[in-house]
Amino acid sequence: MNPLEELHAEYRRELPAKVQAISQLWTTRQMKELQRALHTLAGSAGTFGMPEVSAAAREAEDYLEACGPALDAAQQAGFQRLFEAICSQAGAP
């Protein structure tokens, strides 16, 4: 495995932990950090060969941006669906 392949493999290995960290931010409603973590995931996942994860993270980031800092019940449910899409694309539980 060349160094680039190793880095890609490392990213894939650590992806579930990244998704878990996002889940934790969502659970604790740390919205600014959550948006930032989604932004980072949207930027990096595609570069590491996972464009679907990137797209799902970007959609969730855009959703939060559109909702503003306080989400009502319907918006929370909407975000939960988008987060589950990220988990599904990332193969995270």
């Binding site: 160094p3 880095l7 650590e14 949207a42 930027g43 996942a45 970007r58």
Partner: protein
């Protein structure tokens, strides 16, 4: 000189789209800004209004050049009976909001870098030094590894303090790759400061960011970025962009005759 008609709508041709996505370009910052503003729906009048610091004359000249070079073409015939002119010309209260929404809409992905004014050839053993400002350690490592494989050296910085520390070191970097969303500083502000600082103002800066909006790309161009790559990107494209802004072989494109 005949003024460009304010009612015309221009759209990017295939060549125009390619110019914003190939990782390299021979266009000027002004021409790039106008290309970024053209969404295939807005009239020239609306584009002029959104062009910020660019004067009407500058925008019009850029449009004429882009038209001549085949980067843009008229999108629709606004005199046609089939066009709902009201969409384009009504001065409704919401027009400014719509313009702002267009500029801020996420999903405007570009990959371009402006060619250096002069070609450059490295001396035997000479290595390019890149400062990579990226707070995602894995992405920073990927870029560094790839650059090393191509014979380049890198310095990594992930926050304001590290950026300052890296810029104080000698030799100065040949090129700076700059993320926008950083933990304690905005990359656009860093860009503006770099452009004002005598010691580093001539170092080409390529924005490398997940900020994928027309507004963000324009901000980068206005503040003097030599290139803009939205994430995600292919790492090859990043290398092409670096070589382009440095005038090295493997960048491009060749100077127009």
């Amino acid at each position: 000189m005949k003024r460009v008609d304010a009612d015309v709508v221009y759209a990017l041709t295939e060549r125009g789209s390619a110019e914003l996505s190939s990782g390299r370009t021979a266009l000027s910052s002004t021409e790039l800004s106008v290309l970024v503003l053209l969404d295939g729906k807005s009239t020239v009048g609306q584009i002029r209004a959104r062009a910020g610091a660019l004067t009407v004359e500058v925008v019009d000249k850029a449009l004429e050049r882009l038209l001549r070079s085949g980067h843009i073409l008229p999108a629709v015939d606004v005199t046609s009976d089939h066009i709902d002119a009201g969409n384009f010309f009504s001065a409704s209260v919401s027009e400014a909001d719509a313009a702002a929404a267009t500029l801020k809409a996420n999903g405007f992905f570009v990959k371009f870098a402006q060619r250096a004014a002069q070609s450059r050839k490295l001396a035997a053993g000479q290595k390019i030094l890149a400062l990579v400002v990226e707070d995602d350690p894995q992405l920073a490592k990927l870029v560094r590894t790839y650059f090393q494989m191509d014979g380049m050296e890198t310095r990594l910085a992930g926050n304001r303090e590290e950026i300052n520390a890296c810029l104080r070191q000698l030799p100065k970097p040949d090129v700076i790759l700059l993320d926008v969303v950083l933990p304690d500083v905005d990359g656009f502000d860093v860009l503006a400061r770099l452009r004002q600082h005598e010691a580093v103002k001539d170092i080409p800066v390529i924005m490398m960011t997940a900020k994928a909006t027309r507004e963000a790309v324009l901000k980068g161009l206005e503040r003097g970025a030599a290139g803009y790559l939205t994430k995600p990107f292919h790492i090859d494209t990043l290398l092409t962009a670096v070589k382009t802004v440095l005038g090295l072989a493997g960048g491009g494109p060749p100077k127009p005759k």
